[in-house]
């Protein structure tokens, strides 16, 4: 075990996989010599050469398209999109091609491509460096979608994603790169070194896709969330003094329905929280599943806590961000409802 922040853990995952499998290649804008604008690929070009860690043109669609072609030719590309906000030029290749190559070819071809991309707000990135687009991929059959909330999961999930024969959209909450963040921008930043999930094995291990993690057991209320909001919800549950069970989904697709349903059947109350825009966000799917599966167990309406239905504004980052106050208000409303 070593102390790693999330960037180091991601770097280690790629390092481990490149060492094990000569078919693993990295590509993306500034990922090569420079090591990526968030330094996730630092040192890897030096170690594995310019032919396995490729600097790419600024053409997200071209990056994904060529990654698909490489995967058809037996490689296992890991493509970085510099910010999730810039993934849309690649949307057609992802939605129309990557997601459906296995299906349309009757299983004869498959495209094991992993697309890594930093998402979420909290770094004053304004409306074009803060988005959480998971819902826009979750609705597309054939894509797996992952979002880790800590270094340990990040490494294990990334290794599992690279090893998957299905395409994976791997969303990295950039506000968590250097440390857990509980939603309070005025508190001094803390690093991962004091966090249990900052202990990361150096070698190969997997965190399986499709398995949620109960990060705080509880009996009175279930809080379902992922990414940065895991830490916000944990802090909010603590402050609210509620015996809440907090579930970190980790995988958005496949969704661990069983863990969700078991918890809600037990607690009878539930909140779903994410940073993305609320309207038609992924929270709606989680809420719908719960309503369908646990209706008779619900003692109060399931509530959503999310970003507003606006772009993510530069000046009002902390008014947009669904921080502890918004979560606590929902906890209270849920607990008091009857």
């Amino acid at each position: 075990m070593t102390q790693m922040n999330m960037i180091q853990a991601l770097n280690s995952a790629m390092d481990v996989m490149m060492a094990r499998d000569p078919g693993v290649v990295l590509m993306g804008e500034d990922v090569g010599y420079f090591g990526g604008v968030f330094r996730a690929t630092e040192g890897l070009q030096r170690k594995y050469g310019e032919h396995r860690v490729l600097d790419s043109p600024i053409a997200e669609g071209g990056i994904v398209a060529t990654a698909i072609g490489m995967s058809i030719n037996g490689l296992r590309p890991v493509a970085e999109i510099q910010f999730a906000d810039y993934i849309y030029p690649a949307y057609d290749q992802i939605v129309s091609e990557l997601a459906r190559i296995r299906y349309r070819s009757g299983g004869d071809f498959c495209a094991p491509v992993t697309i890594r991309t930093p998402c979420g707000g909290g770094i004053r990135g304004g409306q074009t460096h803060s988005q959480s687009p998971e819902a826009l991929f979750a609705h597309v059959s054939g894509l797996k979608v992952v979002m880790p909330s800590n270094p340990y999961d990040a490494k294990g999930l990334l290794i599992a994603s690279i090893e998957e024969d299905d395409p994976v959209i791997f969303l990295e909450p950039k506000r968590l790169y250097n440390g857990p963040f509980d939603g309070d921008p005025n508190k001094p930043a803390v690093g991962w070194n004091s966090h249990a999930r900052g202990d990361v094995p150096e070698g190969h291990y997997r965190v399986e896709l499709g398995v949620a993690d109960i990060v705080r057991p509880g009996s009175k209320l279930t809080i379902i969330t992922y990414g940065t909001m895991v830490h916000v919800c944990l802090a909010a549950a603590e402050k609210a003094g509620v015996d809440a069970e907090v579930i970190d989904l980790r995988s958005i697709v496949p969704l661990d329905v069983e863990t969700i349903v078991n918890s809600v059947k037990k607690t009878g109350r539930c909140i779903v929280a994410h940073e993305a825009t609320r309207f038609a966000g992924f929270g709606a799917e989680v809420l719908s599943t719960i309503q369908e599966e646990c209706f008779w167990h619900l003692e109060a309406p399931v509530l959503r806590v999310a970003g507003w239905d606006t772009p993510y504004p530069h000046a009002f980052e902390w008014e947009y961000f669904p921080g502890q106050a918004r979560v606590i208000a929902a906890i209270k409303a849920t607990m008091e409802a009857s």
Binding site: L54, A65, E97
Partner: protein, 415 residues
């Protein structure tokens, strides 16, 4: 809006007008020089303006691009082209008769696919568009297998999921065809990059239509191919039309599509796409470039879409009837036949026999294919197959939906 100063390109002729192909710059056969495949870009640039042609007006092979193919090879090429045409005709009729839902002919463009395939190795990879059935046929896919795809029947390689004509074959190195135009172009480049990264000798070829060059993927393909000098051949099949819009709406008005190549730093070659020998020769030239690490080549195959866009299309609504009769580059099948004849290697009897053979082959295959079912009759795929291959392994939620459908169908059957 009489004041508008916008330039709106037009086709040379619309229904009721006289066909006019004077805009097609046709070089005489044999006149274009053949530079070394590894020559610097400046020395190959003229190829994007002239037109590589080998067969002259007397159907003889002339000039530096003559690939000097043996008569047996020419015969094989002709056989594949004629089989493709017979297949197209039969399947078009099958659609008209309601047996399949959709079809797209490649009539008049057979050389584009068949000659290119012949100039490449079977181990080379191909990312075709939807009008390249000549590739599948000349690579030896069984006609009956293609038909099963068209029928979405129990032997459909796509398991009933794709629209007709969207074939693929892992064994024959033919990638799955997409309904989304142009997406295959940069994918082919990625495939070729991987080949280079792995240090392998296999190269890759891909095709798209003149209209499809407008898509972003065309740009990505040229860009990435040239930056990494990928061993890939990028083919633009300029058949003058994209459904109802003329090639000028894809930017073909001022410059040839081939000239995009030099703009990105790679050679672009304009070739008579209805001249089997010329298509063969330029493909061979481009393949040599790819195999020797010189990088990609853009080939513009000048041809004419003699058929409707698809069975859903009626070209008489937007272009003169019989326009193809005025097409200056003739018909690729007829021209290769005439060439073989001029070599003394072909007779009317042989031609008749081959035509009949192709027709019988197709009819035979059609009969067989139908025994494996059609969309409405005979053996049927199990609908549960719909839930396979979304992912490598079925997720619990897909399994649940599969069971829900089974229940639905059970009740449907009980009624």
């Amino acid at each position: 809006m009489m004041r508008s100063r916008l330039h709106v390109p037009r086709p040379p002729a619309r229904p009721g007008e006289k066909p006019d192909f004077s805009y097609v710059a046709v070089s005489p056969a044999g006149t274009a020089a053949r530079p070394d495949p590894n020559a610097p870009l400046n020395e190959t640039e003229f190829l994007s303006r002239e037109m590589v042609r080998v067969l002259d007006d007397n159907h003889r092979a002339v000039g530096p691009w003559n690939p000097h193919l043996a008569a047996a090879d020419l015969e094989l090429g002709l056989r594949h082209m004629m089989l493709t045409r017979a297949f197209d005709d039969r399947m078009h009729r099958a659609q008209r008769g309601g047996k399949i839902t959709f079809y797209m002919k490649s009539t008049g463009e057979e050389a584009v696919s068949v000659a290119a395939n012949m100039a490449l190795k079977p181990s080379d990879m191909m990312f075709p568009a939807y009008r390249n059935q000549g590739l599948h046929i000349s690579r030896g896919l069984k006609i009956v297998d293609l038909m099963c795809q068209l029928l979405s029947n129990t032997r459909d390689m796509c398991k009933g999921r794709q629209l007709p004509v969207m074939y693929h074959s892992v064994e024959s190195n033919l990638f799955s065809i997409s309904g989304n135009l142009a997406t295959q172009f940069p994918q082919a480049v990625g495939w070729a990059m991987a080949s280079a990264i792995k240090g392998e000798d296999r190269i890759c070829a891909t095709w798209l239509g003149d209209g499809s060059t407008a898509e972003a993927d065309f740009h990505y393909a040229l860009l990435f191919a040239q930056i990494y000098k990928a061993p890939v051949i990028l083919n633009v099949v300029n058949n003058q039309w994209a459904i109802s819009t003329f090639q000028t709406f894809a930017g073909g008005e001022g410059r040839s599509f081939a000239s995009r190549g030099p703009g990105y730093g790679m050679p672009g070659i304009r070739v008579d796409g209805n001249d089997f020998l010329a298509v063969y020769a330029v493909t061979q030239w481009a393949a040599e470039r790819a195999r020797t690490g010189a990088g990609p080549t853009l080939i513009e195959l000048v041809t004419y879409r003699a058929a409707p866009h698809s069975t859903s299309d009626d070209p008489s609504r937007y272009r003169p009837k019989d326009e193809e009769k005025s097409w200056p580059l003739g018909d690729p099948v007829a021209r290769l036949q005439a060439h073989l004849r001029s070599l003394g290697a072909w007779s009317d009897e042989q031609e008749k026999a081959l035509a009949q053979e192709c027709e019988e082959h197709v009819n035979q295959a059609w009969k067989e294919a139908n025994t494996y079912g059609t969309l409405t009759d005979g053996p049927q795929l199990d609908p549960a197959i719909m839930f396979q291959d979304v992912f490598k392994e079925e997720t619990p939620s897909l399994a649940r939906q599969r069971m829900q459908l089974a229940q639905e169908l059970k009740e449907r059957a009980q009624k």
